[in-house]
């Protein structure tokens, strides 16, 4: 089944570039150049995902998202040149599922589109078992010692696996390096915690689409690490 993606931006060249990337990945695309056109396109087509700019004439991305959310739960990824935190938080609060900051990496766009589509179409994902830990797209089957992100298995080292298990079982809680070290290594920490930081960076590179801008495994600078509680999806 091919998915239809609505691309909406007031810059036509960006829309064309995204069209080329997404078409080459086998998606169908519908183009719109402002919020009103996007709303009309959603009414006329069966849209599975929307990529939308925030700063647009006539009706901006935030308002359009709010309008769309009145009657639809189609995934929305906001494209924004405003790299300010306030805009991101506002967009996510109003009902957007993810965001990508301009200038974006085409690979990141495709990865995020795939991730959102997989979650939107998998209808509840894997069934929850007693040994199953799930946060967003990350699922850990403890009995099988297997971790999947958006359904694709990820290979982790035992230490990375244990760190992830610790964080997944306490979503939202911040663990300092020393705590993680004591829990995972079962040794008192004697200033050798920076190995934890290195492991976590590796772990982030494996499960995050853009490790420099993580969505799930977050660094709380000066305090520790955490898995985002209630992360999108």
């Amino acid at each position: 089944m091919t998915h239809t993606i609505l691309i909406c931006d007031d810059d036509r060249d960006i829309v064309s570039a995204l069209d080329i990337y997404l078409s080459s990945e086998g998606y169908q695309t519908v183009k719109a150049y402002n919020g009103r056109e996007a709303l009309r396109a959603v009414e006329q087509n069966d849209i599975h995902l929307i990529l939308m700019d925030i700063m647009m004439p006539e009706l901006d991305g935030i308002r359009t998202t709010a309008k769309l959310r009145e009657g639809s739960n189609v995934p929305i990824i906001l494209l924004t040149a405003k790299s300010e935190d306030a805009d991101k938080i506002l967009g996510l609060n109003i009902g957007a599922d993810d965001y990508i900051t301009k200038p974006f990496n085409p690979l990141e766009v495709i990865a995020r589109v795939k991730s959102q589509l997989r979650r939107y179409t998998s209808l509840g994902g894997a069934e929850k078992g007693p040994g199953l830990l799930c946060v967003g797209p990350i699922a850990m089957d403890d009995s099988a010692k297997q971790v999947t992100v958006d359904g694709s298995p990820v290979s982790l080292t035992p230490i990375e696996y244990n760190i992830l298990k610790l964080l997944l079982s306490h979503p939202g809680q911040v663990f300092s390096s020393a705590q993680i070290y004591e829990q995972v290594w079962n040794d008192p920490a004697y200033g050798s915690e920076n190995t934890v930081a290195v492991h976590i960076r590796h772990l982030r590179e494996k499960i995050e689409i853009n490790p420099a801008d993580p969505r799930y495994l977050k660094v709380v600078w000066g305090l520790g690490y955490k898995i985002e509680k209630g992360a999108n999806g």
């Binding site: 060249d13 390096s177 020393a178 930081a197 290195v198 000066g222 305090l223």
Partner: protein, 683 residues
Amino acid sequence: MKKLQESHLSKVVAAVLMLALVFTGAMFGLKAVQAVPYLDRESYQDTAEFYRLCRTFEDQIASAFALARQLEAENLTYVERQQLTRELEQLKQSFDSSATNFRFVVCNDAGEDVAFNLNTAEELPAPVHYARFTLGEPWAEELDEDSYAAVEATAVEDGVTEITIKAPAGSVSYTIEYAVVPGEQMLESGVEDALCHLYLRYDTATSTFSTWVGVAGSCLVLAAACILFLLWTAGHKAGAEGIVLTWQEKIFFDLYLAAMLVAGTAIFAGGWWLLEYYYHTCVEQQGQEGAWLPLSIAALCALFAAVIALTLRTFAVRLKGRALARTTLLCRVLVWLWKGLGKAVRWGLELVRSLPFLWRTIAGFLAYFLANVALFNEARYNALAGAIWWLLNLAVLLLLCRWSMSFRKLRRGSQAIAAGNLSYQIDTHRMPHELRCHAEDLNNISKGMAEAVDEQMKSERFKAELITNVSHDLKTPLTSIINYVDLLKTTQQDDPKALEYIEVLDRKSQRLKKLTEDLVEASKASTGVLSVNREKIGMAQLMDQAMGEWQEKLEARKLTLVTSLPEGETWVYADGRHLWRVLDNLLSNCAKYAMEGTRVYLDLIRGHGQVSLSVKNISREPLNVPPERLMERFVRGEESRTTEGSGLGLSIARSLTELQGGTFELAVDGDLFKAIVTLPQAN
């Protein structure tokens, strides 16, 4: 009510009514005046008119006796005798009881009745009056109580005095006893002589006086009411808001009043003169002067009332219109004089103020000193001078106190402004002139400075906004460039040079992306528009995390990280994300500019409430730039700008550190580069 007040007709009616009432009142008043001679008299026989009539009768009786005596003389001619007889007859007829109401009995000194005009069996009616005359003297002397001293009186019977006068020898004296017929009998008998008329007039006057006075009084009261109504309506005019001043109010009030006083006095004097004349002729003398006299007196009264009403009206209008002072010449003159005086005083003060301060001080002190000496000398002889001396010194002391208090206020204000409170305004109320000028200058300076600071803040904000907007506008085309370069890479390129060019495009567009991002961050950090969420942050944890991020990249550059930490966790209050950016930038600098194969030292030191983190590395290139310059925007240690840095890293790091209340220092010692971030320690 308002309609009535503004109606022209009502005013005219009231004015006419007022005049008519005064006129009528005056007419009735004049009638009442007629009764004035009879007031306070016991009866008509107590009036002056009655006495005058009686005197006439007495004289006539005396002359009749005189005539009779002349007739007795022998040497009279016939004609003379005839003439005297006729005169006597006339007198006798006039005293006939049917012609007059006057009754008398004449007695000689022997007590015999010698003449009378009583009817048969008629007695003298009470009260009886007495008079006495001596033959040869043509007038009678009336006897009343005042004559007791001159005459030797013996009481004959109750209430009646028999008087004997020592007459000269050879003369014969007679006593007249007389009375008037009672009023009822007079009217019955129908004898209308002067006595009867007097009796009737007296009766009418006494019975109607109170009526006339009442009527005249009511008329005057009503007239006063009319005047009050006129005063109430004065100044109101239909179709006009407020009080309307007429031509009368254009005349100065004092002039108007003077004119009215003159007119009023003239009218009053004229009226008074006429009244006197009327009283004298018509009332006292019972003369008939015709109707013109009372009419003209009443008319003058009405005229006088009109003058009073006009004066009161204009006074009321001026009061209502608040124009009394304005339309009074005296007030104008006084105000003008007052203004002139004020101007003169101000001019004098200005003159004093225009003198240099030093001169004024010297002049003031000299004046004080001389007054002091003079008063002190004088005080030995004069207690008043002593009191003034005390008062003078007390006043000077108070003046000095006021000066120093104001000066203290000024001092406090300038301290506040110096401390940076630019919105502070010194209260210049009740300050001496010199200090007030100074305080106002300071206020203006602080206001100007506050405005300048405000302006600067605004322009910084504006700059930050501009940079944000520009970089936002840059990012949109940059996104297209990056994407299309990326797409270009996927196309088939036969020419190896084309691949090389695409590679350059790719690299440079990525650099441009980094530059724009750094530019926005640097501008936000330096203008303070970034939000700072300060929390308790573990520095050891942060360093640990930073090393986790950077260790491998540094190792790839053959750089070794050496850390030294104090025992336990070191807490600071900072915004974790911003602090991470500082550390990230510093480590990124190490990765970019440190000489390969050297060590990078990360030291954390705490003490004296401060926590400082230092990053040291050996520069690959010689650092020929002073450390202050290194922190400026777009300055890099090497002159050739070929490497990937934007030159903003240190600037951003410094701005972010300062935003969190810390300090950022750089030190360069040969090739050793050292950055120190100092933050206050949290407990």
